[in-house]
């Protein structure tokens, strides 16, 4: 059995957070939501440039490091879109990241499902309203990923 050392360190954050002044929880949360809403334009522009970078990467017929680069291009922006009212775009990015992660491990490279995801993402970024069509598109792309990743697992 290895030696276990246990101690309770001082948490400076605990002292700072209790100092007079600061913000009320309600004000902080409403301010943060407002701030994220204000960012939605720049997030949308950034997602469009991510899409363009991914399409360039795909056109170069990536192998090895190229697939890794494509994975990072897609995985890094995950999370920002949902905060700005584009949750469907995040779902597509996550689905594509799962697919690319499998492809950089043991699933054979196939450009078609990647292209489908990028095409779907492009549609969502240009018409980001939540609708039945959007839901159907996202669900369809998730099924594509499941099919490719599942086939490799089975």
């Amino acid at each position: 059995m290895s030696a276990v050392r246990i101690h309770t360190p001082d948490v400076n954050l605990a002292k700072l957070i209790r100092k007079p002044g600061g913000k009320a929880v309600a004000d902080a949360l409403s301010g943060a939501s407002e701030g994220l809403k204000e960012m939605s334009g720049s997030v949308l522009a950034e997602l469009k440039s991510t899409l363009a970078a991914a399409e360039t990467c795909l056109a170069a017929k990536p192998t090895g490091e190229g697939v890794e680069e494509l994975y990072l291009t897609i995985a890094r922006p995950i999370g920002a879109a949902s905060l700005c009212g584009l949750a469907a775009a995040d779902e597509v990015l996550t689905s594509l990241a799962t697919l690319l992660d499998a492809m950089r491990q043991d699933v054979p490279w196939a450009p078609e499902p990647v292209r489908l995801h990028l095409h779907g993402l492009g549609l969502l970024l240009n018409a980001p309203e939540d609708s039945d069509e959007t839901r159907a598109l996202v669900d369809g792309l998730k099924k594509v990923t499941k099919r490719y990743v599942g086939e490799a697992a089975g």
């Binding site: 360190p9 600061g22 949360l29 960012m39 999370g79 992660d101």
Partner: protein
């Protein structure tokens, strides 16, 4: 741990030094925006692990928000917890992850971060965790395989058939009572309702 979003309770992050390790500019902007709206002002923005290592060797921080960065961020937290860089080695760390492949989940859990949060980071969830970290004086554990905060959220005692490794762990077999039990009249006395004048 639920946070009431209508609460007027106040907290102060103005003096807190916060290191944010996030490789993506948009992700960085989102985190800094959320924390700025919480009142934080002192940020160190690091886009690479190399920058973050340099920063923790030079300055003290009160909170770190670290992206898992497909494993690099996880390694950074593990490295930091093993260093002698006090107080940074014990600083509250929230590990964030956008896409976490299954093989990274256990690594992220075991790297020594206080919390692992999956993006998108809802402001209320972030604040809830920051307030929790600032309220609790959590114990730190260091052994061959792990260095970081105590991950036990519940104290359920030592697993059956095992021996406790802590002074506070009680033996599985509690033995006989060492003193007389309270009699019923004493218990009733403790519970007897009394008038209170306010």
């Amino acid at each position: 741990m639920a946070l009431n979003p209508e609460s007027r309770a106040r907290f102060n992050l103005e003096q807190a030094s916060i290191l944010v390790l996030e490789p993506h500019a948009m992700g960085m902007n989102v985190i800094v925006e959320i924390l700025s709206r919480f009142g934080a002002r002192k940020f160190r923005r690091c886009f690479t692990v190399a920058e973050a290592r340099e920063s923790v060797e030079a300055d003290h921080y009160d909170l770190m928000m670290v992206d898992a960065m497909a494993g690099e961020g996880v390694e950074f937290v593990r490295w930091l917890r093993r260093t002698e860089l006090k107080p940074n080695a014990y600083v509250p760390i929230i590990l964030m992850s956008g896409h976490t492949p299954a093989r990274l989940v256990a690594e992220a859990r075991d790297c020594g971060a206080h919390f692992v949060m999956v993006k998108p980071l809802a402001p209320s969830a972030v604040l809830e965790r920051i307030l929790w970290l600032a309220r609790e004086g959590r114990q730190f554990v260091a052994c061959d395989s792990y260095a970081g905060p105590d991950r036990r959220f519940q104290n359920l005692g030592v697993p059956p058939g095992m021996q406790g490794r802590r002074r506070s762990d009680t033996a599985e077999d509690l033995g006989d009572a060492q003193g007389p039990n309270l009699d019923q009249s004493l218990i009733d006395g403790l519970l007897k309702p009394t008038k209170v004048h306010l």
